[in-house]
Symmetry: C2
DNA sequence: CCATACTTGCCACACAGTTGCATTTGCAGT
DNA sequence: ACTGCAAATGCAACTGTGTGGCAAGTATGG
């Protein structure tokens, strides 16, 4: 049983482990991220948390979660960040961006580091797949 | 000798081949793209073409070039599009985004299409490398 | 319970890009 | 070369995504 209060609990525990202040906004945002199988945009979270905090606080909480290493963010072509709490260690997988519904999905496929010319210092690889998700293919 | 007027000429020829109207703005923008080894952002182009056209026209010309298949655009984490005229056929190479100077470089490495779960319709793959370019490594 | 540093809400602002509309311009047809 | 007209442009206002400043509120250690 992973109902809503379970995700709230996990959020509280996570915040406590990081020695961080446990606030309404952080709990709610983190619980929503734990509950989601895919990265969520600011806009999606704002819909669901309208009565919890205002949009600026939401931006600040999300950035704080990323700074703490609790969440990570995924860039997409529509200039919107999506946030996810999957373990940072294995976040080198590809992301699929559906241009039908705009959702982003985590894929199993890993992005293998290619070689770069002499002089370049390669630090990170990101692979973005584009197309239609099962829903949008119909 | 590939001086400036040579790029202008190539731009005119390219526009003519596409049966398109040959305008000051299109010639200037396309010539700048031909002259550049790396994808250029709107901002970079605006600096160099301030006296040629205004920024809205620059946006429109760039989008038009992409629609025509003459140019293609590359997304980066800073939410800024860069534009390039390399042949569209082989534009499936990776791009390197330097977080020192913000420039984007075309790499030789190709992004190989990974397999995706049943139901997803994969149409495009983009691989973005991040790190420091030779200039910024020092 | 208190003090205080951290967090939040609200405002205004920044930046990339788009839309509406009147004016100008490239060029096909004469 | 001239003309007519669709296409391109300039300008102003607008949208969407995200940030910064600052006063008010609150979580937590003592
Ligand atoms: Mn992911
Ligand atoms: Mn390229
Ligand atoms: Zn979809
Ligand atoms: Zn650099």
């Amino acid at each position: 049983m992973t109902d809503n209060s379970d995700f709230e609990l996990r959020a509280r525990e996570c915040l406590a482990r990081h020695g961080a202040r446990i606030t309404r906004a952080r709990c709610a945002v983190l619980a929503r991220l734990f509950a989601s199988a895919r990265p969520l945009s600011h806009h999606e979270l704002e819909q669901q948390l309208a009565d919890v905090c205002d949009r600026v606080t939401l931006y600040r909480v999300l950035n704080w979660l990323v700074d703490q290493g609790i969440a990570h963010k995924v860039s997409a072509e529509d200039r919107v960040w999506r946030f996810s709490v999957e373990s940072h260690a294995d976040h080198r997988h590809a992301h699929f961006h559906c241009h039908g519904c705009g959702m982003v999905f985590c894929m199993d496929a890993k992005a293998r580091s290619p070689s770069v010319p002499q002089g370049f210092d390669l630090q990170d690889v990101e692979m973005t797949l584009r197309g239609l998700c099962p829903e949008c293919v119909q």
